[in-house]
Symmetry: C2
Subunit: 170 residues, 2 copies
DNA sequence: CAATACATGATATGAAATAACATGACAAGT
DNA sequence: ACTTGTCATGTTATTTCATATCATGTATTG
């Protein structure tokens, strides 16, 4: 294992998710990227974990743990909550999937293999979710944290609003 | 009702929460400020609502709905979940209380009467919560949103880490 | 082939949130 | 005074999200 296989710094910050795109390629690329990181880092992308990741990549939007569980059941995997939550834990721990706190739901990472602190745009109408980059620690919040002596380890940034499609329709 | 009684713009952005302070005064001031806004805006700060607000101001940290409910029960109010959730809805709607999505819990606003988009610092060790200001729509995220055609209506910004006290102890 | 670590399966329970319906308080409008 | 409408509260039941725990299986690895 090449232990220096740290995620590369962010290069593009395009908020994949609302635009039209070649989704099949998008899924395959992401999956390949995750497989690559797993093999270089000795992580075990087991069948359940892989299936959950594939589902989330396919959907390209946030799914609740029980929605995932339903699909797992349909595919013959275990059907009890821990099955889904354990797979999700693994995927979240390793940055392949993010949890959307606002929705208590999960979405596949759009920039796997890159070290990033994600920010999300969540459409309140159609539930579409796009991932962008954030740098909250560099702005007002970072200053407040330093002033208060608070050590930021992780940030949740979620914007709620209307996606382009839903804005148009209204 | 003086309908021009919009919240004043933010003046101070001190992240109240971690520092020592005269807490009794802090509670009284906040409560007075909320009462003022309720009377000018014709909002009804009923006993349950007021009690919940007082509890959250007293505690000065995030409480779950069921913790609140326990306290309500102890004070002789209704003891079923909707009692707490309804009071919380009212308080959140009107900006007197904020929900911490990360914790599924609620905290009294530190800057009531000011229009603000709050950001929170949450200590993962002691659960202390401090409220600061954020301007997420002005930074990287705002740019991404504009680029994507996404209309931000509201943002959740929550930083997780170690508060000064817990950093010291470690 | 142990011994170990890790992953999965299944049962049970806990915690957060809401749906639906009934009752009560109060302020118009008649 | 009485009806009507609105808003708040109370209660029951249910749904949704999440975890603790124990048993079983399946890889490595010494
Ligand atoms: Zn895609
Ligand atoms: Zn990501
Ligand atoms: Zn205080
Ligand atoms: Zn606030």
């Amino acid at each position: 294992m090449t232990s220096d296989a740290r995620p590369a710094p962010v290069k593009d910050s395009a908020p994949v998710g609302f635009q039209e795109h070649d989704h099949q390629t998008c899924v395959e690329t992401a999956l390949a990227s995750v497989e690559a990181r797993c093999s270089t880092e000795g992580l075990r992308l087991t069948p359940v974990r892989r299936k959950v990741l594939e589902m989330l990549l396919q959907e390209h939007r946030a799914l609740g743990a029980y929605a995932i569980l339903d699909r797992l059941r349909a595919e013959g995997f275990g059907s009890q909550p821990p099955v889904a939550y354990r797979a999700l834990d693994f995927l979240v721990q390793n940055g392949f999937v993010h949890k959307i706190e606002r929705l208590n739901a999960f979405v596949a990472c759009s920039h796997p293999g890159q070290s990033h602190s994600p920010a999300f745009m969540i459409c309140r109408k159609c539930d579409a979710v796009a991932e962008a980059q954030s740098a909250p620690a560099k702005g007002v919040l970072g200053a407040a944290a330093r002033a208060a002596g608070f050590e930021i380890e992780r940030t949740v940034v979620e914007a709620e609003g209307l996606c382009p499609d839903c804005t148009e329709k209204a």
